[in-house]
């Protein structure tokens, strides 16, 4: 196990009707003028935004609204939010939505207190030293942004997807009401589930040895997702399955299961170019990329993939041929993704094999290598895109 620092100070309020306490929580964490930042109009139609307004008003807290955050949140919306925060002297951002909305909120939180261009934080030109406080009301179990210090934003010019991370971006509080996710269609639900599982796998595949405790914690989240995801696809109003997935999504990404071990994150990087170029759902892109990545890097540590196959997918170990078990595990993962309605190749995703050189170019590795498990070159990345393009079950 490696040395590590871990800090997750977000206060979570979980359960039915929890959003009605948002006013108290904003007050507790010092907000007096709030930006309610939200995504789609469904948050208004469903009455959620009205409940949020009521809760704030009850505590004497004033607010301004900014909606319209898109999936793969854009820099343009963030510039709009920063201007609004400055004009209205906003001192707290309440993010009502999924990971895109929360990531957009984090961008605004950074930019509102910064004299330069907020993109400097995402292009590594500036380091995070302060940010407006954020609270969240989560409506999609997926990104884990409600409990993390990370934010991923897309620059419209060139559709560049970049990230930033800092403990200062961890929300002060996050309100998790599984019932709010019940209206999510099966496809988006499955995209979220895939994202959650990918967050675990990025941590699970490591070169760090002697990490039984985090291995087992990773496996706990994956086993939960394997049990609960088909249940919500079958019945979107299964509150209990939604609840298990929601907490799994938070634990998957606040890093309590990933501390003390090297992490990979190549699948996320490789996927980001897909959702950047095609504006597809991040989870759907991961469903196409991650099993392809697994196949490509399997030989780097066959026994770790065999461990995944046996402990997570419940497959019998082939002691004479561990590689066979390892590959069976990867196939089990791809089958699972297919069964919950995810695409598994370029065609199903709406991507084009002919674009692979463009994707690799945008990935921007040049002659370098990246990744914490098996470092990959541009050629490796191209090969993974090629596997992902053609895969069938």
């Amino acid at each position: 196990m490696n040395n590590f620092q871990f800090y997750s100070p977000t206060e979570f309020l979980f359960g039915k009707d929890a959003e009605n306490s948002c006013g108290e929580y904003v007050k507790k964490y010092g907000g007096s003028k709030v930006l309610i930042h939200y995504g789609s109009a469904s948050a208004i139609r469903s009455g959620l935004i009205d409940r949020v307004k009521d809760s704030l008003t009850k505590e004497g807290i004033s607010y301004v609204l900014l909606g319209g955050v898109q999936p793969n949140p854009r820099d343009t919306k963030i510039y709009e939010g920063i201007e609004l925060c400055r004009k209205e002297n906003v001192d707290f951002i309440l993010s009502v939505g999924g990971g895109s909305c929360i990531d957009s909120s984090k961008g605004i939180a950074l930019g509102a207190l910064y004299d330069g261009d907020f993109w400097d934080f995402y292009s590594r030109k500036a380091s995070v030293t302060k940010a407006l406080p954020i609270g969240t009301i989560l409506t999609i179990a997926a990104a884990g942004s409600e409990g993390s210090g990370a934010s991923v934003v897309t620059k419209e010019e060139g559709m560049l997807k970049r990230d930033v991370g800092s403990d200062l971006l961890r929300p002060k509080f996050s309100i998790l009401n599984p019932a709010l996710t019940e209206t999510l269609p099966p496809y988006q639900t499955a995209c979220g589930a895939t994202d959650i599982m990918a967050h675990v796998f990025e941590r699970y595949f490591t070169n760090t040895t002697e990490v039984e405790v985090t291995d087992r914690l990773c496996e706990a989240i994956l086993l939960t997702m394997i049990k609960e995801t088909p249940r919500v696809i079958e019945d979107p109003h299964n509150y209990q399955a939604r609840a298990n997935i929601m907490w799994a999504g938070t634990v998957a990404h606040n890093d309590i299961i990933g501390v003390g071990r090297d992490q990979d994150w190549n699948s996320h990087g490789i996927e980001h170019e897909l959702s950047g170029l095609y504006d597809c759902a991040h989870g759907a892109g991961l469903a196409v990329i991650m099993p392809a990545w697994m196949e490509y890097v399997c030989d780097h540590n066959v026994m770790r993939f065999a461990q995944m196959a046996t402990r997570i997918w419940g497959l019998p170990m082939n002691f004479e041929n561990p590689k066979e078990t390892a590959l069976q595990g990867i196939t089990a993962f791809r089958k699972f993704l297919h069964e919950i309605g995810m695409p598994i190749n370029f065609e199903e995703l709406g991507a084009k094999e002919a674009d692979i050189p463009v994707l690799v170019e945008k990935f921007g590795l040049g002659d370098g290598k990246t990744g914490g498990f098996m470092p990959l070159s541009s050629e490796d990345v191209a090969n993974i895109y090629r596997i992902a393009a053609k895969t069938t079950l």
Copy 2:
């Protein structure tokens, strides 16, 4: 899953030599005059206290010392600490030791800012509204107090063991260096491991249904303990096994694996009277009590005990006779405890069957019942003591 609130704002610094950063961390969290509170003289002999002093001095932080915290920490030492804090205007407590030391520190933290008797918080006469900030340097993986808001203290008069809990008692930071636990003898190491496992079991046995995510997280910690504990008993200097146990101990008790489900805590309550009366190690008492409790309550939910047997102890499920599997799981637990050197009955612990009426009387249930899994009466508690008294393998 139940509704819940979860807040774990402690910053963890984990790894080799981490204690040398304690000065920076005290400064970060606003300490300028520190009480260094520690347990045994071994913290001085080993040079640990000197390293702590150096780190504080380097940051210009002054300190006073108070050592001598006993296992099952006493109110008398806490009164001493409160007086010292007031006299010296201490604004931060740095706890260097195991759970007893940290729990004692929490008592001092409460009392130093309270006009009345600190015991009021433990006897439920007063509610926690403020406390001095605490940091910890952990030397025993066991109690989980380094990441929890709980404190258990023994009143010398009558040897009453009582607890208090509040998010305000969660340490600001906790420094976890597994190497500091390497000097711990096998018996104390096993006591700590038993305590960690008991913290999980108290959460695992629940009447709340649909809690797959926390079930799996509980199982993750238990599987880790089953793998790693025998390795440190075999080789106390196995840093990696110590590291896995240390993080498991923290995760076992900061409640991230116990949220959203009813918890039991009867085994802890029943044990507290043993360590209260005989001043034995809490973990040793739990090794005697917890399997006896399991046997006594098994019929309340046979399938949950069968789940423990199969998922945690790897036993085959007897589908024609689940109770057989359930009981085999409990036996596996008791065998494990015996193998790591724990007592499994009253004689091995140094307790007397003749004292059972005294233990039940001190437990103080009267005509009431207690416990979140299967509520127990005084008669039930007596029966569990009786099983615990006579058990053999």
